[in-house]
Amino acid sequence: MIDERSLAIARRLTISYVVASTAILAASGLLGVVLRWSQAVPQARVGDNFWYALMTAHGLGAFVGWAGFAVMGLAWWTLAGVGFPVRGFGLAMARITWWLMVLGVIGVIATTVFMGFGASWVFLYPLPFYGSGNWGDWATGLFSFSVLLAGLAIVTWCFGILHTVCNREALGSDSSSIGKRLGLAFGWGFLMPRTFAAKRPVPYPVIPLAVIGFDMIIATLPLAGLLIWQILQSMHVVGPANALLAKNILWWFGHPVVYLLLFPAVAVYYWLIPRYAGRNLVAGHVIAIAWTIAVIANVLVWAHHLYLDYPSGTPQAQINTAMQPITFALVLPSALSLYSLAFTIYRSRFRWTPASAALFFGLVGWLLAGLSGVINATIALDVAVHNTLWIVGHFHHMAMLNIGLLIFGAVYALLPELCGKALYSEKLAWIHVWTTFVVGMIFFGLWLVQGLDGAPRRWSVLPSDYDTLTRISLPFVFLLAAAQALFFWNVMQTLRGKGGVATFDERGIPEPTKSTKDWSVHTAEGALMLVAVLLAMAFAVGGYLVGREHGNAGGGGTTTAQSTTAQVSTGEGDVVTGEEGAVTGDATAGARVFASAGCGGCHALSAAGSTGSVGPSLDGANLSEALIKARVTSGKGAMPPFDGQLSPQQIADVAAYVRESSPVVAPPGSAPTPGSDY
């Protein structure tokens, strides 16, 4: 067993990771609510680019900043719990990781929410350089740098983990060779006990951590290269890269990063489920075979995200097809782990608490996500669900109902031993766990159904056929969010010592608070207050956004406040209108509409700095305002109609702007570049 000082170090580390990641959950979770709300309620629609920027922030924030960061933190306490202290080099890495991750997440939020970078979390190259006037190279460079920081956080965490799991004393290794110690940590002592000789079998939770610590270094370094390339390109130091290669590099990282969430979570399951079952993990040596498959297969399955990329003259189709069997092989560690954990629980004296129920539900979530994952892994089936909302349902099962519930379970189980204080309210925890599981099942299940019906993912406004289910899901979104408020409140009150001093039973399971005070009144009051504060803040953020959108005339809704201003400013008396009662356009506002509606994606207009070449160039086009209005409103040929997406006022504004900025002879760069200055 490890000494008290090492325990204190690991304890502080885990608390710092979990507290920071929980704060990120609160922020990125709220963004998620806004996203679905905006899809469901036309009146609540945020501007399109803003929606995509929030989607980018929500993806990276919730996936890496919350779930990833939280399980990375739980890993330190889990390792300490099985006799592996974090110290020396490993400790330095663990501390650097925290700072890199926090700075990276702050950078991501700043560049998305405030600088409008909305290329999604996969920032599929070369999209970061095609912002259609909504974000510039500065935002791309800073975003890439922020993701690079988060990527480096993953690498330093891996070094810290590898240093910790290769601890010779803790492993009881007979050999001092690094290779043999790493082999022991991978579980090879079970398979080749002579080569990998040790005084004790390696504790099971060590194996998945060693595997992911090794794999994520291999997975992350090429991505770091791509990010550095993007930074240099944003500074105009290098030119464009190969888009298909970049996509492969992205998914070379993008698949293993899912297992950065899963494998540490498995370590926690391996550690905590036996505690609640009161028996050792039911696992044969065969589990070491599964993890050996995992360490290799994990970095050789990336192309299953590119199943529908098979351009002529490239080996992509062959690579994709080779990766279906490898992806199937990667099912084995999950299948064997679920077997082991299920039999550990089966007919045991399992102690059901909110913590253990959350862990159990997490296993069910894992099973559901795994089953939909097998469908995604099968090329012949993937064609029907690729890039639909089915995928969104799949990874929310994974991230929220498996990893998320595991994190909640681990927090309820471990908070008392981490801070010495009893959990504030077991009842609130029960409500939180059940609501999260049941409501999550319904909410994410609706995504699966919509996806099977062909609903595209990453659409700020879905085709109207899908509106019914989107609206049905809305109450579940709010319920899920409200349930998380109970979690925040419970954790906060626990940390404030409101639950009294922690006590534990003979298995180390925290006992319910002994407080004789009636919790319900205080809790109800507190929860009410917290929900009220959160809602007020959410609405304040919403108000800010609505104000900003309308101020910028970029909203997708009805006639904006802008129109009033424009009309009033024309002077006293009657509102001055153009021909036949049409509204008068304001060119300054039109410049912003031009950028936010993405006109520059298709049309070159030197005043807007756009170089699109799909549609005709607007420079020197000498079009009348009436013609521009008609084309924007009704569309023609490949040009989509913007009627309903832009208000009549916005269309008038953009017409005035285009009319004004495309004189017959347009000297390039003669006008300031709008769109880049907000």
């Binding site: 399109d48 298909l244 990329d309 064609v383 029907a384 690729h386 406004v461 085709p463 993405g598 799909v614």
Partner: protein, 174 residues
């Protein structure tokens, strides 16, 4: 819902029902804990479970791997369509009107970022899709069976106008 989507729905529903039943059984089993320790037997049976999983996955692999959409050709009777994706529009260029019953080869390119050419039939069912990466040509072959107006939607996120990147084309009866 497409034929494939129906297969997925049925298979996934059965698997989820089975998984839920097992989960519930495991949950209920803790109400009657065992006195003796059977961990050893269960650990040994994990190897059997591994074999079952390998056989199942192998069967699924063999049953599906030959249905990949790669390398299809339209043949001599094929109809050729050139597709160009750009932020945020599709240019669909067919020399003659498309007809049912004869394979259509779509040659898709992108002028800027990655897009995905997703085609929905007149009943709004997603029937096929393929990614279009800049600087590469993507070929997709499909034989239409019913005449009507087909909707094209971009299925790879491509920026602020991604959801506006739609188009359509007409297939006439042969």
């Amino acid at each position: 819902m497409s034929h494939t989507a129906v297969i997925i729905t049925v298979a996934y529903s059965i698997a989820v029902a089975l998984g839920s039943a097992i989960s519930f059984a495991v949950f209920r089993s803790t109400a009657r804990p065992l006195e003796e320790d059977r961990s050893g037997t269960w650990s040994r049976r994990e190897t059997t479970w591994l074999v079952i999983m390998v056989v199942t996955l192998f069967a699924l692999l063999m049953g599906t791997i030959f249905y990949v959409p790669y390398g299809d050709t339209a043949g001599p009777r094929g109809q050729v369509v050139r597709v160009t994706g750009v932020q945020f529009a599709w240019a669909i260029d067919a020399p003659q009107p498309l007809v049912t019953g004869r394979p259509v080869a779509f040659f898709a390119r992108s002028r800027d970022v990655a897009h995905s050419f997703g085609v929905y039939n007149p009943e709004e069912t997603l029937i096929f899709q393929a990614q279009v990466v800049p600087d590469h040509e993507q070929k997709i072959v499909h034989t239409f069976t019913e005449p009507g107006v087909y909707t094209v939607r971009c299925l790879e996120f491509c920026g602020v106008g991604h959801h506006k990147m739609t188009s359509s084309f007409v297939v006439k009866p042969a």
